[in-house]
Every structure is written in C-alpha cells, then in structure tokens.
Homo-oligomer: 573 residues x 2
C-alpha cells in the first residue's frame, strides 16, 4: 500500500513544528516540506540581532537544516520550490522549482499551509528603490548588512514603530547608525495602550532616536549621491542611507483564497479549533490563520512564534489521526486561542503584554471592566538596583477576572507578564493575584510582589474599600476636588494647579477642610499614600477615590490626552 502523504507549504515555525511532530506521531506517512526560500526552520525572531551583530553568525539561526530533517525525521525538504496553486478537488499542488523553472504536480492526502505573513510594502512612490528593505528572511538580513557595509551607512529611517521597527531601531543604533523612526499612529507598539507606550517614546529620544509620531511617509526619492529621501506628509524630507519597513505584516493567504478556502474578516485563513480549513484535507497554522482571541473570543491575527509552534503540533496530531489508524491515537487536543503574550526590548526598556488592552475593550464597547496602574520596583527598594515596573492591569467588574496586562521597565518585566499570562490562561481573578505566592528574596522581588500589589489594589477596589479614579476622567472634569497627600516639599516642587495639599500624616487633623458633599480625588506620587488617605477619609464619611498610579501615571496619561485635545492647556501648568 502506498504511504499517505502529508505536504507542508512553508518550513518555518508552524510548518517545521508540524512536520517534526507528525513524524514523531507516525512513521507510516510520507512527509514533504516545501519552502520557496533557501532555508527552512530558521529563527526569524533573531534576524534583527543578526543585522545588529549581536548574533555574529547567521548559521546559528538555522535551527534545522534539510539534511537534519532527512536524517533525523525522514522528512523530505524541498527548498526553493514555490507552490503556484492548490487544487483541492484533485488534492494536488502545482509547484515550480525556482532554480530550473521546472513546474511539476505534487499530490497530497493532507495539506498543511504555513506560508506565514509578508511584510507590508505600501504602494508608495519610490517604494521599489534600492536601499528600502523589509526584514523577514535570512537573505533579507544579509542584504541589509551588505548594504550597510558597502555604503558605510550612517543614517537610517525605520518606518513603523512595532516590534520589528523597535528592535531594528535598537540594532541599527548599536551599529552607530543614527536612526529616525516614523510611525503613523500617535503611539509606538500598537498592542499597548498609548499611555503605556509613551515610556518607550521617551526612552527612544534619550537614546538619540529621532522619533516622529502621527507622521506618515508618502514616498521615497533617490538623490544623485544614491542616498534616499523619505518624504513625509508634513512636507519635510529625511535624507538617509537606508530605509527599513516595519509597518506590519499581512497573512500570505493568496494561495488559499485562490483555492477557494474560506478566509476570515481580516484576510487570514479561517480555521476551526483543530486548525482545519474549510477544506477537510487542508490545515493551516501560524501567521496566516485567524485565531480566536483567548479573552474576547473574537477572530484576530496574531503573528507570533509561540502560537505558530503550538498550532503546528496540534495540527500534526489531528492530521496523523486523520491519515492513519494510528497505533497510539492522541486524545484530541483543541487549539485554545491566542492570548497575544508578547515582549519587545528597545534600548533600556522592555515592554511586554498579555491578554487584551483597553483600546480593544473600548472598541468592543465593554463597560464591565476596570484598570489599575502601579509603579513598584522590580525588587525591594532596600536592595540596590531596583528599577520601576510600570504596570497596567485590566480586569472585569465585578468578577475581577483578569483581562489583560501591560508592563514596561528595565528589569523583571517578562516575569510579571508570564505570571499574569498563566493567570489569564487559567481563568484567574485579581483575588487570586492578591493571594499569589511568588518568589521573594531581595534580588528578585518583594514580599508583596508587583503581581500581588496589582491584585490587592484591584481587589480593594472591587470590595469597595478603595474606589479608584483615573486621570483621564479628572482631566476632563476640572471641577472635581483634587487632594494631593504628598509632603509639602513635594507639593511645592510640582503640583496640579487646582490640587489641595494635605500631607498624609495631617489627614486626620485637617480633613474638616474638605467638603463632604463632593467627590474627592486623592493622589500622591504613585498611589500608595493616597490609598491610605482614601481609607481614612472614607471611614469618616468622605466620598474619596484614589487616582490610580499617582502622579507617575498622570505624567504618562497627560501627554496622550493633550494630543487628543481633550484637555485645555489651562488644566495643568
């Protein structure tokens, strides 16, 4: 009997994972892995660091070679073979050998699509000029390095402030290239809320990156000295030696669409929880598929390596079960959806997030949520070297279910987001965070870890002990009473123009100065002293709320609001 054939299109992340797992699940099927590029199973997340010479040799990026696939897994890898079309009726592919131009037909019993997502190249004038690069493959990274070396590039423009854009800005700067970053949105890193992303903007500027937010590139020109001009919507031109496009990616769903497979609203391939497409012999994984958001249940595109790998494993199990009377049938596993846990280092800061952000909650018109901001040290302050973690936690009201978290800082960011990601995955609440038992020694955390503190603040709010206020609300309602409970020396150095100052230790003696018939919004530097004041005031019958995150959050929120012109210039001096 002829062996059943699994053919895989695309040999990175999801495709490679599926191939290896399928072989582990069955020695009885033939597995063919096709890639139009020269490499399979390479570490594309490492490419910016290879460009930046942090990773010195590109060979370390090759996780597995075609030879290894053959010798270890009996998997046939055909690199530089491009699939031209899929015929689901005959279960065949039309394939072009790129070297020879030869076109041939390949049949399959099961087909896995893992073509990934392609960098967006907007159809702007001059977009095809030499020196304008995207970064997706090892050849891309080599071309960029070669260009930089050949022209001794000293200035570069990065278009787009997402993960790749920021990582490339850092790596180019590390090569002593002066970087300009142009981002069309008002913020960097779209998965974050704007008031969180603002920490990154400041840090980029401190690292000599010229940052343009809310500025669009409208075209490119070549100068007579072969340098490029990046033309901005504001009319100015940036002369540069290299342009890196980091605008985003779009799923490479063209083949699937032509073959008549169902696509989702965002143009990705639609799959069920078994990673199966609308054709029962075709599966798809990775950046090309639309996944269900683990928190909202909505279809979305999340181009990340971790989910791609896990999807590949699950698809392999299902495919092997479908193709064979497996001796060891796996219990069926469903793909649970994607949380969007992600992380990015840019210069001094690390930014990580999991779950959904407030922009999404607003977009979904949800009102059953609350948020806390906090700025604890990444370890106890009495041990040298503590760095603040700027943390935002979103949770449902009144259940307290954790919806999402964002953290930015120099140290300990990934730990808190991983812990919160696990909490979200397992349906945890802020009450669970309050009671979480995490590692504490002075170098690593605190008896009340930032994760505990986030839970405590949120739980205090949900229990009605310490209601929270938010700066965006107070800034748009300047008539509210603002009480600043910092010491007078801090107040004198800086304060909101309409804030009353009663230092915390005087609150019991001086609370009679405050009105009982108005909401009092209390703040301090980061929200701890004001929490104490709120508790005291509330027990004496005052309607006090704690302005979450204190002035440190104010400093982040204010510029975002100012941009939206929601606050007048008189609100703050």
């Amino acid at each position: 009997m002829e062996k059943k054939k699994l053919v895989i299109i695309g040999g990175v992340a999801g495709g490679a994972s599926c191939a290896a797992r399928a072989r582990r699940m069955s020695e009885q099927i033939e597995i063919i892995l096709l890639d139009r590029g020269p490499y399979v199973s390479f570490a594309n997340c490492g490419l910016p660091y290879y460009v930046g010479n942090v990773i010195e040799q590109d060979k370390v990026l090759l996780v597995a070679t075609p030879e290894l696939f053959r010798d270890r897994f009996h998997i046939e890898v055909r690199i530089e073979n491009e699939v031209l079309s899929i015929n689901p009726e005959t279960k065949t592919l039309e394939i072009k050998e790129l070297a020879s131009g030869h076109i041939y037909t390949q049949d399959y019993d099961a087909l896995l699509l893992s073509p990934g997502a392609a960098p967006i190249r907007p159809p702007l004038p001059g977009i095809e000029l030499p020196g304008i690069f995207a970064l997706r493959t090892i050849p891309d990274s080599r071309a960029i390095k070669k260009w930089i070396a050949a022209r001794n590039v000293s200035e570069a423009v990065v278009v787009g402030g997402g993960f790749i854009g920021l990582e490339m800005a850092e790596n180019l700067a590390g090569l002593d290239i002066r970087v300009t970053l142009v981002e069309a949105q008002a913020q960097l890193l779209a998965p974050f809320d704007p008031e969180m992303a603002c920490y990154l903007s400041s840090n980029l500027k401190e690292n000599r990156v010229d940052l343009y937010l809310e500025e669009s590139v409208i075209g490119f020109e070549q100068n007579t000295d072969n340098s490029l001009n990046v033309c901005l919507k504001n009319g100015s031109k940036i002369k540069t030696g290299l342009v890196l496009l980091g605008i985003g990616v779009k799923p490479e769903s063209g083949l699937a669409k032509t073959a008549g497979l169902e696509l989702g609203k965002r143009g990705g391939i639609r799959v069920n929880e078994l990673m199966q497409t609308s054709d029962s012999s075709i599966w798809a994984v990775g950046d090309v598929v639309e996944v269900l958001d683990y928190v909202t249940g909505e279809e979305t595109l999340v181009p990340l390596a971790g989910p791609a790998n896990r999807q590949g494993r699950i698809a392999a199990d299902i495919i092997v079960q479908t193709l064979s009377d497996s001796q060891h049938p796996s219990p069926q596993r469903n793909y649970r959806g994607t949380q969007g846990t992600s992380i990015c280092q840019a210069f001094d800061l690390v930014a990580a997030c999991t779950g959904i952000n407030e922009k999404t909650l607003k977009h979904l018109a949800r009102t059953d949520y609350e948020k806390v901001y906090l700025h604890p040290g990444h370890h106890v302050n009495y041990y040298p070297g503590a760095k603040p973690i700027h943390l935002k936690l979103l949770f449902s009201v009144p259940e307290g279910k954790i919806l999402g978290a964002q953290a930015i800082g120099e140290q300990g960011i990934e730990k808190r987001i991983d812990t919160l990601a696990m909490a979200i995955q397992l349906g945890g609440t802020v009450f669970d965070l309050e009671e979480a038992e995490l590692c504490y020694a002075p170098q690593f955390g605190a008896a009340k870890d930032p994760v505990n503190l986030a839970g405590m603040i949120a739980a205090n709010m949900l229990r009605g002990e310490a209601p929270l206020g938010h700066w965006e609300d107070i800034l748009t309602h300047p008539e509210k009473i603002i009480l600043d409970v910092r010491d007078s020396i801090e107040y004198t150095a800086f304060h909101l123009p309409n804030a009353i100052n009663i230092p915390l230790h005087q609150i019991r003696d001086r609370m009679k100065e405050l009105p009982k018939d108005k909401e009092i919004w209390v703040h301090c530097g980061v929200g701890q002293r004001s929490y104490y004041a709120v508790r005291t005031l509330r027990q004496y019958g005052y309607d006090a709320k704690n302005l979450s995150g204190g002035l440190m959050t104010f400093q982040a929120v204010y510029p975002c609001l100012e941009k939206k012109n929601k606050v007048s210039s008189e609100t703050i001096n």
Copy 2:
C-alpha cells in the same frame, strides 16, 4: 464608649502588615504594636546582604519606624517591650519594659501573635562562646559586622546549608572571608530534592567554599588566640574566626503554649483558615503558625515573608470585623494555605521552588505521581549568553495536576518558578503548561519556553506517547537495556559501560540490533534526541522509554545514589 483594642505581639512582616491593614479597615479601634526588639517592620530578608556590604546602610532596612506608624496610621508602637505572659481569661498581657524593668498589664479585645521563629541554637558544648552568631535582627547583623571588623576575620564556618546559610556563605565570601559550610544532611537546601541541590554543592566548591555534607558539628572550643575550633563528628576541628548558625528556626510559640493555646504537631501555633487560634480572641500569623500545605493539605511550618504578610492582611480583616460593626465589612477571605514558593541566590546559581518535592511525596507514600527533568537554555541558544535551567517538575498521574517544581541555574529561574507557582495556585495541569503562551523574544525565552517544554514532556508521557524512565531505577537495575542515541564521537568521549550506541540518525536502519522483548531505556545528552528515538522505536513495536533529562540528569542523580550505596561501583566506570 471606649475604643476596642487590638494588641499585636511582634512588629515585623505579619504583625506590621496586620497593624497597618487593621487601621486601613478601621479608624475606630486602638492598635498597639509591641516588640521586644529596638525595631519594628525591618527587612530581615536583607540582613545577609547588609552583613556582606551589598546593602551599605542598615537604615534602608527599616521599612517603617515607630514614628511613621504613629503619624501615618495612629498606631502606638512600643519597642523594647517584652510580653511575659498572656492571660486569655482576663484578656490581659503582662509586659516588661526592657529599659526600666517595669512590668505592667495591658488589656486587649483582640490579640495578634506574630512573634516569628527563632534561630535554632543546639545545646552543644561551647555554643555560647563569643564569635558564634545567628542572624535574625538588625542588632545581630551589626554584631557580626563589628566582630568581623574588630578581629579582621579571614575565615568563617557556616553551620547549616539552608537559605540563610547559603546567603551568608555568599556574603561572607564577598568580604574575602574563606568560608567552610557544614551541613548535617546529605544535601543543601532541604526544600529541594537531593539530585537538584547537587548543582549548588558543585558551585559552592567552584567558589572556594569548603563544603562538608553529612557532617555534624558536635561542639565549639575557644583557642588561646581567641579563635574558635568547630569540632566535627569525624573528629577533626576547623579553626575559624567566626561561626554563623544557619541550622533552621523554630516557632516562638512558648507564650502561646503557656497561655494554653493549641499547638500543631510541629510545635507551631495551630490556626484556622481565618488565622484564629483555639482562643476566639487571639489570632496568629507568620513563622509562628502551622499552615496547611496548599498541595498536600498537611499541617506544616513555612517561615516565609510573603505568606506572613498575606496572613497579616487577612487576620486584620477578620479582627476588624469581629471588633466592630464595620461600615465596610470585607467579604470574608480565608487563608488558602502555603505553597512554599521560595528562592535563594548562592554565588553563580539561583535556586527556586514551589509546591512539594519528591521527598515529601515519598514520605506521604504517594505513588500517583511522575516527574520530568529537563535542562533547556534560559533563552534560545542562538542568542548569546543562554544559560541552562535545570528544571524538575512533579505532577499527578493520570490527571497531570502540577504538584511541585524546582529550578536551578544562573538566569531566568525566578520567572519559571513564578509562572509554575501561579499554575499550581490555580489548579493547572501539565496540559495547560503545554499550551501556555509566554513571552518570547530571543533575549527572554523561546517559542517553546522551558515551562512549555516541561508540560510537553509530561503530557507526552501521560498520553502514552513517550513513557519516561528514571536514572535511579536503571542504576538499581543494571540488567536493563540502555540505548545511547548520541553521535559516536560523544559516545566515545563518555558513556555508561553497558550502553549500546545507535546514533539517532541511524535508528531506523539499525533498530533490528535491539531486542523486542525487553524494555529499552533510551538516553542522549539532555533527553531530546532520545525522545525522537523513543517515538520511532515505539512505532516499530519496541518497548522504549526515555531516560528523563539524559546524561545531564544522570550526572546529578548518580552522586546522590552513590552516597546511598544503592549503586555498586561497577555500575558506572
């Protein structure tokens, strides 16, 4: 009406947390915080680092002063006031003002006991000689520093290889003091299993610490030059300038016992889930109480700062509800038990654990569990600087519920244990770990994070895809077939004497060399290639198991077994 009185004995961690939280919950009660020492609310976890001059000033260890308690919280702190006895019938305390010797009576409506645990000073000959220290308080740390400076101490003996012992060994070595560490057990760090703790032993030796395991101190002598001899059971004496006792702590439950409060089996105060003792007006928190192990449900003693703080908060809520018709009654919160999440840095290594260890499972005679060992990099190996994480995961069979985890390595340890601690807290399984979505960028992890890998290996085992074997079993059953699937060059460099070598890429061609009627225990370096081989062999009808963690685990397990004389010297050459 007179205010209700909450009196708290012991002003660190749990006691201080309770005091502050009680005030936040009620302005209507009187709160008195008693401590026999000169300080309250100090950071005792920082003391080793103060001795080691990593923390330069002891004032940073003072989290809150009596003045701050008074000004901020209207809490009366009485330092250097020692409680002599508790009379639960009259709800009074007999208290001695240490400075004046004056003895007075204090009444209470609610009493919180947070006296902590005292370092064990075994009644050995010479134990009271000058130069023998324990480390619990700021005065202790000052005395040690003074002793070192005054005598220019160049050699020290640390007795006990627990958290304090290891931290002190590191900090003393940092002062250019040559350290000898004597531990009566066969391993360091009792919360870990011996084969995990062995990584620490090796590293101590690499850092010039003279380590004696399974060696007891039987007494101390003073030499004529005022130096000390530490007398060992083996008859030898270690001449030294300073002795640090880090043998462990025992709950200071004497007052409670005398007052007739119920104690647990281990001598700690027994409390219910509301932290209430057998007297309904007396609560207890922190190192003095017996807590329920979150995983086993057994009573145990876990002297850790995080649980003490959380217990203090919960006790405060309950006490305030009991004492008052609170305007804002908190929903009742129970203490959920203690997981034992803890972490310790010693020289180059960080060791952290959560949940229960295998020693405990064996002690409980549980057979419904399995374990995996793995040694992944703390981030992808293609990014420079990856350090191995030695990880052990314990889980229930067949449910896969996570029971405990231990991790040791240089980097990224606390992140994995915190993530696993959260998983344990929320009842997670290895199948959840397999699907966990964690942060991945090259500097921070991998598309398959160590936490995912642990879950995948365990889940593969539970699904029957890749059964696991363990080195302790194979070493005691030398008749088993051992298959080494590393390359022949690796095999030639080192191999088990009775191991057959078939490199992974030859497995399909050469498997006929193996018997089908015997268990084949397959290994490689760390367990990945052997997993591939096991999958192939099993599909062809061989009874293959993967030796968990490969030779890297063997190297850890073997010395532990050798010590137990379970393996003959011929088992391994």
